[in-house]
């Protein structure tokens, strides 16, 4: 998962190590450097699983190794941009955190003890309908030749279910990095195709003045005609000037064509560790929440008669009591007496199909599981 960082430093080790001095001009000049980009070129992986078009030269053959593809993109400066395409998606925030730690660890091994590290810019946004988290770092290392300065930039994105992570270890080339990674994300096509949800919205999340997270909400229809409502959130929270905390979460609801909840799950990972793993299921006429919360087992029954709402119905305009089940249903209208949610219709658990379990964890849990297995 973290091939990029190791590759980047092993190739362009000396480049960011500029003699540190109180010289704002050299630093300003170094940070203002940009490449003259070439006309976009199409490329594809060796197995033809994906293709894209970028304004940079692709170095070498792109092969699938350990569930991902690594790409080296030469944009005309000494240090290439390294990217990773992950077919099953990534936990955007944790990918950045883990890769940053690996990059700095590698810097320490190759360049010398990292004396200081600092987050320069943290940002979140979209390229079209592709959410991204980006961050740039500066660090100093103590070498035999004195104190040297290094820098690197990272960006993580999910295009549908495909994760994209890129990093560049060098001072400057900020617009170059953005142009190349944006082109990769926008033009990426896979043989799997990207199934478009029938509804999607993306929001940025800011803490104070810093955009540091993204929230993606999608509504898709599954093979049974039920709606899967998914809300994913990825956030990077500065823990201090020199580190970040990652938080990735996913909430899923399976909703029948009448807008009734079938079941749901909520998973949160913080710094790669699973902190919340809860499922909501109807059983014997009651709704039950089960799972783990902060390392402790949880099992709770909702009050008899409680009716959890679902994410796929909205109030009909101009009416307080009539609700419209949106395109996840057949546009029926019905009265609502429950105040349990903004959009659900009252429904007794007993009338729901029991134990229609569709709770697959998605990338958050998969990555966390993988992280734990590998001891990351």
């Amino acid at each position: 998962m973290n091939k990029c960082a190791a590759l980047a430093l092993s190739v362009c080790l000396g480049v960011p190590a500029v003699q540190a001095a109180d010289s704002p001009k050299w630093l300003t000049d170094a940070r203002a450097r940009e490449s003259r980009l070439i006309a976009p070129r199409q490329f594809q992986s060796r197995d033809s699983w994906f293709r894209a078009k970028v304004p940079a030269k692709v170095v070498g053959v792109i092969e699938r190794v350990q569930d991902s593809y690594s790409i080296e993109l030469d944009h005309g400066s000494g240090a290439s941009i390294y990217c990773e395409v992950v077919p099953h998606g990534i936990d955007m925030a944790d990918m950045v955190r883990v890769s940053a730690e690996s990059t700095l660890k590698r810097a320490a091994q190759l360049q010398g003890k990292v004396e200081e590290r600092q987050v320069q810019v943290l940002d979140a946004g979209v390229f079209g309908n592709i959410p991204y988290l980006s961050i740039s770092w500066m660090y100093t290392v103590h070498t035999d030749n004195g104190l040297r300065v290094g820098a690197f930039k990272q960006i993580s994105m999910n295009k549908g279910n495909v994760g994209i992570y890129c990093a560049h270890v060098d001072l400057g080339y900020i617009k170059t990095f953005e142009a190349v990674t944006r082109a990769l994300a926008m033009t990426l096509e896979t043989t799997d195709g990207l199934r478009a949800p029938y509804y999607q919205e993306i929001a940025t999340v800011s803490m104070g003045a810093t955009k540091s997270g993204v929230m993606i909400t999608t509504l898709e229809r599954d093979a049974d005609g039920d709606t899967v409502a998914t809300q994913k959130m990825s956030m990077l929270l500065p823990a201090a000037a020199n580190s970040v905390i990652s938080q990735d979460s996913v909430s899923k609801e399976w909703i029948d064509p009448d807008a009734g909840m079938i079941n749901a799950l909520h998973i949160v990972g913080q710094n790669g560790e699973l902190t919340t793993d809860l499922k909501l299921n109807p059983r014997d006429g009651q709704w039950i929440v089960e799972g783990q919360l902060q390392g402790k087992a949880v099992s709770a029954k909702l009050d008899q008669g409680s009716n959890p709402g679902s994410a796929c119905a909205t109030p009909a305009p101009g009416s307080r009591r009539r609700w419209r089940c949106a395109s996840c249903s057949r546009h029926r209208r019905r009265s609502v007496v429950s105040t349990a949610s903004r959009c659900g219709r009252p429904r007794t658990p007993a009338s729901s199909p029991l134990e229609k379990r569709k709770c697959s964890p998605g990338s958050t849990a998969r990555t966390i599981t993988r992280s734990r297995r590998s001891g990351r």
Partner: protein
Amino acid sequence: MLARIDGTHYHALSKIGTLSADVTLDSTSGMASAAEIRMGPQKMKLERVYVSGAF
């Protein structure tokens, strides 16, 4: 619902447990296009930047 902002947006206050949020509702989708949640001394702000499809 607190006030109408314009033809398609409403200002509302949303409360879930101990959390309360200032919300801007978009009447086209029925969803929040912006929200501001006070969390102790911090404010968390959500701002919709992309939307597609019918809801």
